[in-house]
Symmetry: C2
Subunit: 214 residues, 2 copies
Amino acid sequence: MSASRSIVRVKSGPDKRRLILDAAVRVFARQGFHACRVSDIADEAGVAYGLVYHYFASKDEVLDTLFLERWNVMLELIRDVDSKPLPVREKLGAITSFIVDSYAHDPDLMKVIIVEVTRAANSFGQTHLAQIREAYELIGEIVTKAQEEGVFKPEIEARFAAMAFYGTIEQLLTGWIFGLRPQGEEHFERAKWLVVETVCGGLETSVVGEASVS
Amino acid sequence: MSASRSIVRVKSGPDKRRLILDAAVRVFARQGFHACRVSDIADEAGVAYGLVYHYFASKDEVLDTLFLERWNVMLELIRDVDSKPLPVREKLGAITSFIVDSYAHDPDLMKVIIVEVTRAANSFGQTHLAQIREAYELIGEIVTKAQEEGVFKPEIEARFAAMAFYGTIEQLLTGWIFGLRPQGEEHFERAKWLVVETVCGGLETSVVGEASVS
DNA sequence: GTGGATATTGACTGACCAGTCAATCTATAT
DNA sequence: ATATAGATTGACTGGTCAGTCAATATCCAC
């Protein structure tokens, strides 16, 4: 019974660590990592200043935790997709879907990850370059397989293709984050299709009619 | 005569303002904007601390100046390219060339612009969102024209296409900046071709044989 | 119900650094 | 010569904030 009690306690209890992490997402998204104070996080979470340092060694570690929590889920998904025998378009579509849905579900968290980590490779990205590189490499593998199947052009290196794909997605999220692109369920769904169509099919009209001129 | 004298003076003189800007590029590239002190810039330039504030109102203004100097040159180039009656591939190729050559010529400056401004849209990018948006819109116009000519697919919105194009280039530079991609004259040249080929032609092999299955 | 461990509090400290300013130097104009 | 304006200097100030710590509260095990 003491066990059931403690489980209930954990479930229903405040779980301050999680509270702090969630508060940090909101604060980082609103004010930016560098511009906010640790006390802002504590206030937002409704806990004492010192408690942040009970659960985390430093302000940096809070951000690290948020990033890694999410990024690892993404890496897992990519590995999973990669291992299945699907057409490339579906694989890339699944990855795009995952990222877009992540944004739709928790824009603040994705904003923090993109703006404060992924796009801030000078400070934090440096620490997580390995994680970011890992994503690149996994996508690169998907491209390589597609090339071996003859679906993707062999003359565009897989590494470069992965970069173009990821760059397009990151720019898309950045556009949403800074209000440069319209948001909403329909836009999110359309964006998924656009990413895959642009990257796979290119911007040019099919050159089927190349010889049809004559 | 006083004019010629003063012109010579300006030409041959130390021109401390420029000295400070150039030093700032090196310091920002090496340590990052937030991590460096104003005294680091002064030291690197070999001038007194206070002189930085004689020429610039704040640390921020130094970065602003560096960004705008370069970004405006780029905007001018894009406008120029846009106005000429060239095939899209050549237009996009010219823009890609300009950016890649900018990096090849002064990697530190481009690193600062990308890392500290363009990719830091939370802090500085916010201030320069208008400039960044302008680049997007100009590229969008190029895409729109190509669509009207029937060269580009009409179903991919020009805004999205511009985003994919710019995102690919930015990711490319980011890869170089953080040592994730090989550098050197040949790689730079090849990258130019890859960007245009990927964005315009897509990753898939031409689907000429689409109907050949039957 | 006692003891030890863990959670929680918030005042305090020590370091850091952007920006100021009064003093000094240099150049040129008359 | 001398005056004026601009260039140059670097010590100093004021505010900010990450991280510490000693005190207090809560929990659980026996």
